[in-house]
């Protein structure tokens, strides 16, 4: 990557902004457009940009294929855990009203956590699929 100073420097400016924007979309999804799915895609695209510029080996030191696989399962598990938590607190599966004293607050907590689960799963699945493609050898 020594040959392309312009690409390298631009990406150093852009990647943090992309990742920050992904987090904004994730946690601002209640108020503006967006949510876990879009945030996960944007987060993964920021890391994919890093892979395209610095190669896969350097990126895998930061976040490996194994980590993305574990994170993909973790996100789905968070989603299910929110559902089961509702059941344990006396509601139905994925009923958020019982998660807090106030039903509306409970809805907020539920949506926050399931969107977090969706975001983690989507980001790590896209990254893992990209890794699988990039590492494939004929």
């Amino acid at each position: 990557m020594k040959k392309n100073p312009i690409l390298r420097e631009t990406s150093h400016v852009l990647i943090p902004v992309i990742l920050l924007f992904a987090l904004y979309v994730q946690f601002h999804g209640d108020y503006g457009p967006g949510g876990g799915f879009q945030a996960g895609v944007i987060f993964a695209s920021g890391i994919i940009l890093y892979v395209l510029l610095h190669g896969i080996k350097k990126t895998e030191k930061i976040i490996s294929l194994q980590t993305t696989k574990l994170l993909a399962a973790l996100g789905l598990l968070i989603y299910c855990a929110v559902g089961v938590a509702g059941m344990l607190l006396g509601g139905l599966f994925l009923e958020y009203n019982v998660l807090a004293a106030d039903p509306v607050a409970g809805q907020h907590w539920g949506i926050l956590f399931i969107e977090l689960g969706v975001g983690i799963t989507v980001a790590s699945v896209i990254l893992a699929v990209f890794y699988a493609f990039a590492k494939f050898e004929k």
């Binding site: 503006g32 457009p33 799915f37 879009q38 695209s45 399931i114 799963t121 699929v129 493609f133």
Partner: protein, 165 residues
């Protein structure tokens, strides 16, 4: 227009790039229709991620493709009949933007009126997706996860990792 270009292209690389542009145009169309959440997804997934994934798949499969220009008249006939049928069926649809259309009479008014009091989230799309239809979204996340398992199995990345450890 872009779609017509894609059909006429014979170079896969240009087709992938035009596919990205096509997604971006669809995203703009969704913004015009006030569906910002869908536009967001289309721009990020359609124009961004799928283009990158197509390119990496292209890098694996290489440029060995054998495309001969052939005319499939039965296929053309099938597409024309299907298209004509779909266009004919649009005649029965309610007028564009009609507030009395069946789709606006079902659950939509209830979501619009009660969701802020029940869920307390200003973005109704989020409250419908995450709360009223949380079970659907759980299914979608499971589908995404299953897709990952399938890709890893097909490309053999799981086996490769076990060999290293």
């Amino acid at each position: 227009m872009t779609a017509l270009m894609i059909i006429n292209m014979r170079n896969i690389l240009s087709v992938i790039m035009l596919g990205g542009i096509y997604s971006l145009i669809s995203a703009i169309l969704f913004v015009v229709l006030d569906a910002v959440d869908v536009a967001f997804t289309e721009a990020a997934v359609g124009a961004g991620i799928s283009t990158v994934l197509f390119l990496s798949a292209f890098a694996i499969t290489g440029k060995h493709h054998d495309l001969k220009r052939r005319n499939h008249f039965p296929a053309l006939l099938a597409v024309l009949v299907m298209g004509a049928g779909l266009m004919y069926s649009t005649l029965d649809m309610p007028a564009w933007g009609d507030a009395e259309a069946p789709v606006h009479q079902h659950v939509a008014p209830r979501y619009l009126e009660d969701s802020y009091a029940e869920v307390g989230v200003p973005n109704i799309v989020t409250s419908v997706l995450a709360s009223y239809r949380g079970f659907d979204t759980l299914g979608e996340v499971t589908v995404v996860f299953t897709a990952l398992i399938a890709v890893l199995l097909l490309l053999g990345a799981i086996r490769e990792d076990e060999d290293q450890s």
